[in-house]
Amino acid sequence: MTNSAPKIDEHLPLTSAVFHILLSLADQERHGYGIMQEAEAMTRGQIRMGPGTLYGSIKRMISADLIEESDERPDPKHDDERRRYYRLTDLGRRILGAEAQRLSDLVNVAQSKGIVGSEEVV
């Protein structure tokens, strides 16, 4: 694990798009539009990625081995077979965890400085 630590740190901090894509894929595989919807839902409409930003990020994340394409289809009968589904890799999951921890630490710092109240942080 000691070898992977520097590799994870190299990716941090993540861009907003990359972080939200990783977070969208944390619980299940999704296709592009599914990721967009999930990111929008998670942020209550604050993050609305366009197709260009989404697939540009996906391309870079695949080459960085953060996500990968999945061959499985949740429901092949009712889904367009041309859709591509993506899922987290082990590295992607660890990087997502590290970024979430980093942001959490920042929120703690903000709380300690009285910038945000603990009840506002969900």
Binding site: M36, R48, G50, P51, G52, I58, K59
Partner: protein, 250 residues
């Protein structure tokens, strides 16, 4: 089910989006173009169901910014990737550009010669007492309205397009023949100067003709480089974006 006018608008907007995808690099468009169109289609239908045409307009305001920023990023990515490849072939690249420059210069020679032949009976002998130009070539270089200049520019444009196409299409034998012929033609003024040795006003006339010749070389080469750059860009554009000829990315 969508109403027909709305369906037409959605269909037209999808066609427009599909068209705008041409601003992305070719490789990226091939890989992700269909997926982007599919995502756009989903987004478009969702926006329309929620807010009708206002939703579509709102979506487009976001999409345009998304298109511009993400396409710039992808072009930069493509350039970085290209640089990595080209760095390995730096030597080859220098030779390629040098050869292209030489070809442009040599290919301009026939048109410089045409200027000399057109002018050889027409321009006055340099005579400072009669205010005739000592360097007619310089005046010709600056006079873009001169009919032979326009003619030679047009011909050079065609030549550069043909040359660009030949190089792009790897017609190596054709390109070599073209360069060989142009080089042969470039030797003509030398032979011509030898013939003029017997002429009475050899010295003055030779330098005046040489002046025209050199100026024409410069003029046509300059225009050829400009036109050649345009033609090369056109060829590159067609090469990078062949889909614009009618093939769809979807």
């Amino acid at each position: 089910m969508l109403h027909v006018p709305s369906a037409a608008v959605l269909s037209a907007s999808e066609r427009l989006y599909r068209l705008l995808l041409f601003i992305y690099p070719r490789a990226y468009r091939r890989e992700y173009g269909p997926l982007m169109i599919q995502a756009y289609r989903d987004l478009c239908r969702h926006s329309y169901r929620q807010k009708g045409m206002v939703g579509i307009a709102s979506l487009w305001s976001r999409l345009l910014a998304d298109l511009v920023t993400s396409s710039i990023e992808q072009h930069l990515d493509a350039l970085r990737e290209g640089d990595r490849i080209m760095m390995k072939k730096e030597h080859t690249r220098v030779i390629k550009y040098a050869r292209l420059l030489c070809t442009v210069l040599i290919a301009s020679t026939p048109f410089a010669l045409s200027g000399v032949f057109v002018l050889r009976n027409g321009f006055p002998d340099p005579d400072p007492f009669l205010n005739t130009p000592l360097h007619p070539g310089r005046e010709l270089f600056l006079d873009s309205s001169f009919p032979p200049a326009i003619f030679s520019l047009a011909i050079s444009l065609l030549l550069q397009v043909a040359l660009g196409y030949a190089l792009q299409a790897h017609w190596s034998s054709f390109s070599k023949s073209l360069v060989r012929i142009s080089t042969g033609l470039a030797l003509i003024p030398v032979l011509w100067a030898v013939v003029f040795v017997t002429e009475f006003n050899l010295r003055v006339r030779f330098f005046a003709l040489w002046d025209v010749y050199v100026s024409d070389i410069l003029r046509v080469s300059t225009s050829s480089i400009v036109f050649g750059a345009c033609a090369t860009l056109l060829v590159l554009f067609i090469t990078l974006y062949p889909d614009i000829k009618g093939h769809s990315t979807a």
